[in-house]
């Protein structure tokens, strides 16, 4: 049965509760990096990676450090420092292992720290009660991975549409952010359709 629950978590974070289009998290990179498809791919992969790792580490820190010492009110500060450190680490590792990937991701990597979807998934893992749950660590890692995939899906769809939009004839005052938000709204309506799904 656990497999089924994990699958449910994965599907609901990717489609039903998509972090960008239905929970409104992580809008800054969603708007900032969705101009070109290739940079969107790089950003998406980096976010999936950081979110998965962040879910793993924040869960461990919450369960084995914050709870035993009874300092759970420090959650926010602990999580943001973990995420900042993690992003720094990922940056250094990618720089050593694959300079080419580092070049293409370069500027987007440090920005992931202030992506509210990353801190969001860490806090939501705790709020969903995974700490006391059976296989809680696995569940929160799956939720983190799913959230990252959902973010990437929304980002790629948006980048694809915006690349086409370059050629379109848009009223002068709608150019830039306004038309992007209208597209995001239409996409969000489309994603509302998933909420009727029964798993």
């Amino acid at each position: 049965m656990e497999i089924k629950i994990l699958f449910t978590i994965l599907l609901s974070t990717i489609l039903i509760n998509n972090y960008v289009l239905s929970q409104i998290l992580g809008l800054c990179p969603f708007l900032g990096v969705s101009k070109k498809l290739d940079s969107a791919v790089g950003m998406g992969l980096a976010v999936i990676f950081v979110m998965t790792l962040a879910s793993f580490f924040t869960f461990l820190i919450y369960k084995f450090f914050l709870i035993p010492y009874d300092i759970t009110y420090l959650r926010t500060i602990a999580f943001i420092l973990v995420i900042a450190g993690l992003v720094q680490l990922v940056e250094m590792v990618i720089e050593k292992v694959s300079p080419a990937l580092y070049q293409s991701l370069g500027i987007f990597l440090p920005l992931i720290t202030t992506n509210c979807a990353v801190l969001g998934v860490a806090v939501l893992n705790i709020n969903s009660g995974f700490v006391d749950a059976n296989l809680g660590l696995l569940k929160s890692v799956v939720q983190g991975f799913g959230a990252g995939v959902g973010f990437t899906l929304a980002l790629l769809l948006m980048a694809g549409i915006r690349e086409r939009l370059e050629m379109a004839d848009i009223p002068e005052n709608l150019k830039g952010l306004p038309i992007t938000f209208i597209i995001a709204g239409l996409m969000a309506i489309a994603f509302l359709g998933f909420s009727g799904m029964k798993i």
Partner: protein
């Protein structure tokens, strides 16, 4: 530098959401009702003013290469203060705003002002800048919430407007947030381009 100018700049010329385009997530997510918007404004403005003051106080001492982690730690401290205060005195508000209270930490407006303004200016100016930016954030949020609450819940400040009318629920959900902001930005652009002509 004129103190009043700092405040009006925050509201109009350098409005963090409509002009600079940062701090979108809390803006869109909590603007479902005016009371949510006002509480969010209060919480974020408090954090903004306090972090601006503290950052400008320590601006000479902080080594520049570790300033961002230090700023984030300062901001997170005040966010925890807000979080615990709301939990103790306004549990309903805490429930309504939910995850977006801890997420004030990653609100780009606050880190942005710490980095751009408070780390270069005096304590008084930084505090005033915090008030101005907070007002700009709050006004935009309230206008958004005004339209969304009327259209999406058929209510204003919690009171039903037209009894028996079915509100369009989509305005309360994510799509409504995107559309309302799109129209606000459109209006803003229209006003600006008219000024240019």
């Amino acid at each position: 530098m004129n103190l009043l100018r700092l405040i009006t700049d925050g509201i109009w010329k350098k409005n963090p959401i409509l002009v600079i385009g940062i701090g979108m997530c809390p803006t869109l997510a909590v603007s479902t009702s005016i009371s949510n918007a006002l509480w969010m404004t209060l919480a974020a403005t408090f954090v903004l003013i306090m972090s601006n003051i503290l950052v400008s106080m320590i601006k000479g001492i902080v080594p520049s290469h570790i300033r961002i982690p230090i700023f984030i730690t300062i901001i997170a401290t005040f966010v925890i203060v807000v979080e615990l205060t709301l939990k103790a005195f306004q549990p309903d508000v805490d429930k309504a705003l939910g995850i977006f209270i801890p997420l004030i930490v990653v609100n780009c407006i606050i880190l942005g002002r710490a980095e751009d303004f408070a780390s270069k200016n005096s304590v008084l100016y930084s505090a005033i800048d915090g008030i101005g930016m907070g007002l700009g954030f709050g006004l935009t949020l309230t206008v958004l919430a005004f339209f969304r609450e009327i259209l999406g819940a058929n209510k204003l400040l919690g009171y039903t407007l037209i009894p028996g009318m079915e509100p369009s629920l989509v305005m309360i959900m994510a799509p409504g947030a995107f559309f309302t902001l799109a129209f606000m930005l459109w209006g803003m652009n229209a006003i600006k381009s008219r000024g240019k002509r």
